[in-house]
Amino acid sequence: MSDIAERVKKIVVEHLGVEAAQVKEDAKFIDDLGADSLDTVELVMAFEEEFAIEIPDDAAEKIQTVGDAIGFIQSNAKS
């Protein structure tokens, strides 16, 4: 489980170019990590690829924080 959290955080760090310390579970992608709306789409695409899952648009809209992403992936990922 913590493995998923680490992988999610790694993707966020790489993609948004932020410090790992900033990537807390309650950090909001747009408000706290400086993502724009296209970044959030790309993050979802990166999560889908990393965890071999599909994140439907309505679920993607609800993923606003790092913790949201980890939570969704934990309950949907196969690996």
């Binding site: 296209l38 789409v41 790309e42 695409m45």
Partner: protein, 245 residues
């Protein structure tokens, strides 16, 4: 300049006069091309004359499922998609008083909605690779209007607004979205005009001749090239001076 070796392109409406010339020109610059359209036979003929680096995926632009399939099959055939030329278009001319809802809707559906759907479907890959060229073939009448073409002019004007919005959304990802707006071009469509009609048209064209499909294709090649990376949200008018906007 304008070398497209290693690039891949999808051209819709490739069985038409302008679409065929665009596909030929992109292919001539070294690109691998996928030809799409509704007339499979004409597409196969064009493929045969182009030779290698050519694929055919027939599709209907009024069918959302078919459009998604086209995007997937083109990407699968070529391995990736760098250049999308949305050239497919239809006309259902009628003066507005007589224009039926079906005529209005069909033209909007194919020319505008179909173009949006296909562009949306290929964006993902372009975003990932940080490279993309979308060239939408609009028309002079989308800017100037034309009696009898309220539907067509609305759809073509819509493409320009859509392209500007997409251009702003995607610019930071290395994707450009531009339009080419042909004036009167010699194609099977204009062959049907009477001499009087042609004379009437030419009286409004300073260059005093119809354009050629190759002259449109040359504009598309430019906008599809690496060299045009800093050009986005623009409409390139190729019309012999018929309208200077």
């Amino acid at each position: 300049m304008f070398d497209l070796s290693g690039k891949t392109a999808l051209v819709t409406g490739a069985s038409g006069g302008i679409g065929g010339a665009i596909a030929r020109a992109l292919h001539g610059q070294g690109a691998t091309v996928t030809l799409s359209g509704t007339r499979a036979e004409a597409l196969e003929q064009l493929k045969a004359s182009l030779g290698e680096r050519t694929h055919v995926v027939a599709a209907r632009m009024d069918d959302a499922v078919d459009i998604d399939r086209l995007a997937k099959e083109a990407e699968a055939a070529m391995g990736k998609l760098d250049i999308l030329v949305n050239n497919a278009g239809i006309t259902r001319d009628n003066i507005s008083m007589r224009m039926k809802d079906e005529e209005w809707e069909k033209v909007l559906q194919v020319n505008l909605t179909g173009t949006f759907r296909l562009t949306r479907a290929v964006m993902r890959g372009m975003m990932k690779r940080r490279f993309g060229r979308v060239v939408n073939i609009t028309s002079i009448v989308g800017v100037t209007g034309n009696p009898g073409q309220a539907n067509y002019a609305a759809a073509k004007a819509g493409l320009i607004g859509m392209s500007k919005s997409l251009a702003q959304e995607l610019a930071s990802r290395g994707i450009t979205v531009n339009c080419v707006a042909p004036g009167f071009i010699a194609t099977p469509m204009t062959d049907g005009l009477t001499d009087d009609q042609k004379k009437g048209i030419l009286s409004r064209v300073p260059a005093d001749r119809l354009g050629t499909p190759d002259e449109i294709a040359a504009g598309v090649v430019y906008l599809a090239s690496e060299e045009a990376a800093y050009v986005t949200g623009q409409t390139l008018h190729i019309n012999g001076g018929m309208a200077m906007i």
